[in-house]
Symmetry: C2
Subunit: 249 residues, 2 copies
DNA sequence: AGAATCTAACTAACTGGTTAATTAAGGGAA
DNA sequence: TTCCCTTAATTAACCAGTTAGTTAGATTCT
């Protein structure tokens, strides 16, 4: 029995089927499918191409977040997105390309949210706090993303893939550079304790991300809901104070 | 083959075989195999059962750390451990059981290292620092473990598995309880800022673990070796100072 | 008609797990 | 000592089920 990877997917080997070429949708449907109250075009429609693509991407985010790259199943993604599996391969080259798209979605959202702060002309201390705030809020608003991020970090084994290098160059490098500058200036102005960005950055990311990437586990294990509005507000307050105390003078 | 079950009659269809009862190893081999210079017993030997089991477990730790649960391949584990794949199933029920064994290995080591500190009669502030030190040193000495830990945390999706509940009960619960007590006392004695263990614990774990679980990626991306002796010493200093500043009064 | 969108059914390759055969060693009997 | 039987340890070959990806078309819009 396949335990971790296994999933049931009966291929209907026995069920009686109509002749292959004689299939037609039941009369009265005419390519439309009633679903959850609203009518949705189904066959060969040009109506919702973007909608389909977006649905696939959304489903893929959820799937990759839940099961990781190796654990993600394309069949399940298609099912969640309510499209045929072949449509995944119509819009995306392969599973890896789909994963890349998910990464871009997740990381570009983060960068857009966070980079403007780092490029602003706030004072180092305020800038750092604002950076953490924005980062936290982005993650809190998309609590599935940390699992994708974490998976991606962990994917790299021994040597980096070209895709990972691209991600690093496009998303992490600019943030790292800005952060290094921020810390240098903050230390010079006496606003921040002098720290190595190579130490601070992974610590910030770790603090913010770990809580969310393990949230489902915490929810299952404790009585508390780690993603409730109040809990998240409390967590936010803690994180900001924690970091302020740790690095601000 | 005269298999009584009738399952497989097509065993070794091509290779010419000696008569069943007359088979003996070639003269001069006598069950030993020369391999990379040293002689290693190979066939049906009762000599190294523990050695074999240990080799499998060691290989499994590396494999699960590198590829995660779903990505881990039993064939590769067997190959790394230099044993036949069937031997995995001789010593462990299935892939999941092997993974459980890996988890126990990793978490029990951590608990043994860390719980005595929490149960000692150090003052709250010193106890906290000592806890973090021990935790850090354990992880630094086993830099593969964070990836296993992280994978395990992320494995839980939506609802906890019975195995996860066991892990939580056996390893996390006692640590959490001690930590909660420590923080309460520390706050009462005015040694520590009053914080929720539900916030502090995942932050500590996140800070310590994230750096190591992403180390391979960092190594591939930057010029620095994040696991060099000097870098780890620097990191250790940073982490301890960071946490001291953040929660100690 | 033709292009864009979409699907049922299929397949090649892989992967976890099983099986029957095989080997070395220990113990007892002759 | 020699022979045989039992058992633990180990393996090559195999299989059933799963999964990423493909194919040959169907549908609808312009």
């Amino acid at each position: 029995m396949a335990s971790t990877t296994g999933r049931k997917q009966t291929r209907r080997p026995t069920s009686p089927r109509r002749g292959r070429l004689a299939q037609r949708p039941e009369a009265g449907e005419s390519g439309l499918q009633r679903e959850r109250g609203r009518i949705r075009t189904r066959f060969g429609t040009r109506g919702q191409p973007e909608e389909s693509r977006a649905a696939i991407l959304r489903a893929a985010v959820a799937e990759f977040a839940e099961y990781g790259i190796a654990g993600a199943r394309t069949d399940r993604i298609a099912q969640t997105a309510k499209v045929n599996k072949a449509l995944l391969y119509y819009y995306f080259k392969d599973k890896d390309a789909l994963y890349e798209a998910v990464l871009d979605h997740v990381f570009s959202g983060m960068r857009e949210r966070v980079l403007p702060v780092l490029e602003s002309d706030l004072e180092p201390r305020e800038k750092l706090i604002e950076y953490v705030s924005q980062y936290f809020d982005y993650i809190a608003a998309n609590p599935r993303f940390p699992r994708v991020v974490q998976s991606e970090w962990m994917r790299v084994g021994a040597h980096a893939s070209p895709q990972m290098l691209r991600i690093a160059r496009e998303y992490f490098a600019p943030i790292y550079a800005q952060m290094a500058k921020l810390l240098r200036e903050g230390a010079e102005k006496g606003q921040l304790r002098p720290v190595n960005p190579l130490d601070l950055l992974p610590s910030l990311v770790g603090i913010v991300i770990f809580y969310f990437s393990t949230a489902t586990a915490m929810k299952a294990l404790l009585k508390v809901d780690p993603l409730s509005k109040e809990r998240i507000a409390e967590r936010r307050k803690f994180v900001l104070e924690f970091i302020t105390e740790a690095v601000c003078l």
